[in-house]
Structure formats: C-alpha cells, structure tokens
Amino acid sequence: MAQQATANKVTVVALVENEPGVLNRIASLFRRRAFNIDSLTVGRTHKPDISRMTIRVDAGPEYARKIANNLQKLVNVIDVRVIDNEPHIERDLALIKVRNDDAHSRNTLTEICDRYPARIVDVGPHVAIIEMVGTETFVEKFIDEVRPIGIVEMIRTGVVSMGRGTRIHDTSVTRRGLARATLQASAARNGRIV
C-alpha cells in the first residue's frame, strides 16, 4: 500500500498523566504560545494512569522541538519525543457519511472502497457511512475520491503514531505512584501502616 508519511509534517508524541485538567494545561500552553497545531489526539495506553498524545505539526522539526521543549516543562507531561525521520507507523481514522440514493453513487462507492482499506459500516436508503483507516495522506486521497459522490458529514480522529522497532516509548512511573510509595515508606519508618 502506498502509505508514506506526509511531507513537511512532524509528529510529537507525549506521555502524560491521566489526571483531571491535564488536557486543559496542554491546550492552554498551545494557545498561550500561539503554537499552530494540525491535529491532536489523546488516548489511553495499557497503563491506566498514563495517556498518550500525538500532536501533528505542519512545520519543520525545529518548530516541533520548540513545542516539545515547552510540553516537557509541564509537570504532568512525563516524556516527549519528536518523531521526525525515524521509521514509524501512523494512522488516521475517518468516518464519512455520503449520499447513497442512486445506483450510480452506490456503485462508485463500492468501487472506491475496494481500492482502499475502507469499509462501508452502515447503509441506508439515502446515506452510507464509510470507515477509512490509513496514513493521513492516504485518508485524504480517499476523501478526495469520495467527495464528488457527495459527503454530508465527516469526522476524523487525527493521526496517532508509534515508532517502529525496539525503541520503546513507555513509562510506568507516575507522580501519584511515586507519592504513594513515598508516603508508605514514611509511614513505615514511623511505625505506622497505611
């Protein structure tokens, strides 16, 4: 599949504490510094108290590093990495509702979906919903092809990324975790159990 990374776009990946207000802090930082963000996604990881963010920036790696340096200053941001040249996997997901009320559009739609990793996930007499997953460019190419049929509604998740190979970007240390351990140790030292 022709899925290469979009030119001129840089990705910043951040591991953040899954605590109330953290997203607000990050949004506030971007607004305050007038950082231009292409897309931002947040999701859970396999560790309950850690979330992971993927930030896409339509600018050079220097700009991305600026963002990374500022993000790193936030106490709740555990680790930041700029994914620039290193090999990585990226995915964007789009739900696209298109008009589907004549035979011609139905046929065209099926034909296009066959050539892409796209699925028709809901069909009715008037509209259908397609799910398309791929790199950002690939999703955009797909959208361009579908557009003439008549898009009536659309949502994209924004890009998520993961570096390839054994360079693991993960952590299990959190502030709360460390705090709990310190308090337990302090209590034990004073002969108390908590």
Binding site: E17, N24, S28, K66, Q72, V75, R175, T182, S186, N190
Partner: protein
Amino acid sequence: MRLTGSEIIMECLLREGVHVMFGYPGGAILPTYDAMAKYDDRLHHVLVRHEQGASHMADGYARATGEVGVCIATSGPGATNLVTGLATAMMDSSPIVAITGQVPIPAIGSDAFQETDVTGVTLPITKHNYLVTDVDELAYTMKEAFHIARSGRPGPVLVDVPKDIQNAVTEFIYPEGPIILPGYDPPASADKYEIDAALRLIDRAERPIILAGHGIMMSGAMQEVRELAERAQIPVALTLLGKGALPEDHPLVIGMMGMHGEASSNLAIQEADLLIALGMRFDDRVTGNLKTYAVNARKIHIDIDRSEINKNVRADVGIAGDLKTVLNQLLPKLESKSHHDWIHQIRDWLEDSSERDILNHETPGVLLTAQVINDIWRLTGGDAITVTDVGQHQMLEAQYYPHQRPSTLLTSGGLGTMGFGFPAAIGAKFGMPDEEIWAIVGDGGFQMTLCELATARQENVNVNIAIINNHFLGMVRQWQELFFEKRYQATPMVNPDFCKLADAYDIPNRRVTQRDEIEDAVAFARSIDGPTLIEFVVEKEEMVYPMVPAGADLHDMKRRPKPGEQ
C-alpha cells in the same frame, strides 16, 4: 498524629523553613486561619490590606532571600486579587507558594458564593497549580509545591484547598526524602561536546561580551561568571534583573543593556563577534529589533530552561543546564585571553556617555530624579536593598544606583507591574531584617498599593519609602512626548498630599524640593526604626536617556544631548 487539613498546611510550612506568610482571611480559608493561632510562635502571619500586596510581599521576600515566599488568600475575590502578583512572579522566575481557600468540594462547579475556578484562572501564570481533593494528598502536595517553586527555573505555585479539606481530619504523615517527579527533571550539566564547542567559540572571539542575567544569581554562579570574565578578559553587560550579578564597579562591567541601557553596552552588543548569554532570555526590551540584533555575533546561550534556547535568538551553542554547574565544567579548560583593543573601544564609548550624563550637566533650580537616586546611593553607601516600582524612576534607579551585591535590586522586569515596589519592599524586609531597605516608587505606582502603609505601620516594618513625585505617569508621558507630539492624555496627576497621607497612617515623613535637603531627609529616614516616607518633588518633564524606541534597532538610540548641543 491526627491533624486537620489546616494543621497539616501549617506543619508543612514549618518543615519548609517558612516563618512568615502574607495574607488576608475570608470564609473559605477561615479554618486555616483558625489553625494559625496554634502556630503563632513559629509562623508569623502578616495581615495585608489587599491580597495583591500579599503576593508582591511574598515575591519581594523570595527575591531578597532566594527562599520561597508564601502568601495566602480566601476563595473567589481573595484569590483573584493574587493574580497580578502571580503573573509578576512568573515572568521574573520568583519562587512563591500561594495557598487559597476554595468552596467545599461538593459545591465546586455550582457557582457557589465566592467560587472562582482559581486553578483555571492561574493556569497560565503559575509554574504549576493544584486543586487538593483528598486530605491524604495534602502533605505531599504541599511538599511538591515548594519543590517545584524553588527548583529548576523557579516560579509561583498555587495550592487551592477546599474548605472541607481544611476541616477534614487524618493521620498526618509527612513525606520524607526527596520529591521525585517523573515529568519534571530540570537539566543540570552540559554534555562534553557542548562545553568544547563553547570553548572553541570563546577562544576564537575577538570582540566577546557576556550578557549577565538574573539566572546567575538564582544559580549562585557569581564567582564562576567573574572568573570567566576575568580570565578571558570579556566585558560584561547586565540585564535589569542581572544587576548585582557582578559588582558594578568591576572594571569589566560595562553597564546595563537594552531599551534604557548604557549606550556603550548596546553598541558593544551590536559590534560584538560573540555573545555569551548567561541566565537571561533575550527579552524584547533587551534586544530591540531581532532582525538587526548582534548580526555579526556567534551566540552561546546557557539557561536552565531549555525552551528559552532558540526562542528569540538562535544560539550557535545552546546549553540547557544549571549555570553554576555548566560554568564549573567549562572553567577548568578555559585559557587566559586578552582583548585590549575591544575593551579600549568600549571605554571610548563610555567616555562619550559620561559627557552626556545628566549629573555632569548644570541644572540650577530643578530637582532631578537622577540626582535624588544618586544621592540616595551615596548616602546609603551604595549598600541598601532597593526595591523599585515601574516607570522612569525605575530606569533611573538602574542607571544611577550601582549595585555591588547580588539580589540588592528588586524590580518587576518582565511584567513591569506598577504597584509592585512598596509591598515587595515590605516582603524583602521580613526576609532580610538586617538590611537597609529603600522602596523607590513613582507617584503613580505608589498609589496602586499604598494601602499597605497600614501593614507597614501595624508590623512596624523598617522600610524607607522614597516617592519620586513628578506629578505624571512619567514613563507614559515620555512616550507621549516622543511619539505622540506631547499630547499628555491621561498622564498628569493631581496627587494627594503624600506627607499628610503618611501622617494619617502615623508614619514619619519629610518633603524634599531642593537638592540640598536630600541629605537631611535621608539621614532622618535612616535614623528611624520603622516605616518612613520621603516625598521628593522633582522636575515634571524629565526624560530617561538613552532610549531605544520599542522595536527599533538596538544601536538606534535616542541619546541625551551633550551640554551646548540642545
């Protein structure tokens, strides 16, 4: 030991070495005020007259001592009154911890009486903030707040404590050992290749200059910077907040840089082939037009905040680290150098400046701010801690009160907060009881926080207030004179009688209108163990020169005409 949340706050403050806090009570913080009574012998509470004053006092305390200053306020309006002080501290990297009361947790989000989203409001103007939602997390949060406030690049931290958390009772466990925060790891030392790259640039430079900032004092790197300057014979220009980093009478110190800096410093920066920026952040008041700023110079930038490097000025060698540590890595490999021609060139520029110096002009019959400040300098042996407000008098203080010791000029640089000076001076006195403290304030700015006269009286704080009364918002008037054809819109002031005002607060005072009265008045102020106020009635339309107009090229200064030239 079972304690209430309020008592836990007090216990934590004691463990941080706090012995004074500045604050104002109210409903949502009342349990904590009630707990204070029990700790009164070890923790002194200073009742301010406006929470803004409390925030500036904590800031002044922090700037003077390098320790964390503490202020405390109730929810809603009490907390929002802290905002200006938090923003001021944030811009100048001053470590303060603000404790605010909040409505009880069940009421949060209901627009309860005096409820404000304080963590939301202060998010962009604090280094970090907390809303405590579990009394068992209170002690750890307090310890973390102090750690974050004072470590790395210092800054204000706010802890918002709901009233029910203050009342809740729990087993008090103080977290022992160091605080480790996974997402917070201020850089410490430089990599070897960075040190080598910096050394190469220093070795090759013919016209190097050190830009000395506030970070030098926060890192305690005064001796290291001095060694660097002396061994490699590099002239040192100071930022406003960098004053005191090296004694100003040191032969290599060439004065302040920037908008109202010494012409010689600004010219030297523009002519230099290497800038060594130490603990400073290339503020626009320092650089002028970035496009023409030091275009021929390579740049070494050392700062503890990685995000400052390459923010405004591209660094050829950018080192994120603690200045003292980094310089101690660099110094053992630094070779002696000399830059005779370069230093000679700067001396020539300095001579031209002194010809233009207002103190060397005949000015019969008028009292000038520069004269007042220079006389205060002389009469205090140049050894007082001066705390300024914002405006012309602030810049003239920077020009005419040379500072010999670190942290003896306290001034709001980054935010330029009028109303800062007087309360910050009170805070400084609590931190440095043995130092002579002068608040040098404008007639405009003083009126923004003069309610703290009552605080100074109640606590009998030995600060000397010098009001520089030009009957104008002088600095704004200066801009109007230069850029708005003297249309003095909203800058002339009809002022109260400051001496009568002082009388009303029972504060000894004097008014000075002639230069020959200064000595007596200063001696009077110094002789009294408590607050004093001197009003200096000065020339109304004085100018501060040199001046680089906002956004202009740094070398494009408006200079004071030489005698006979005007």
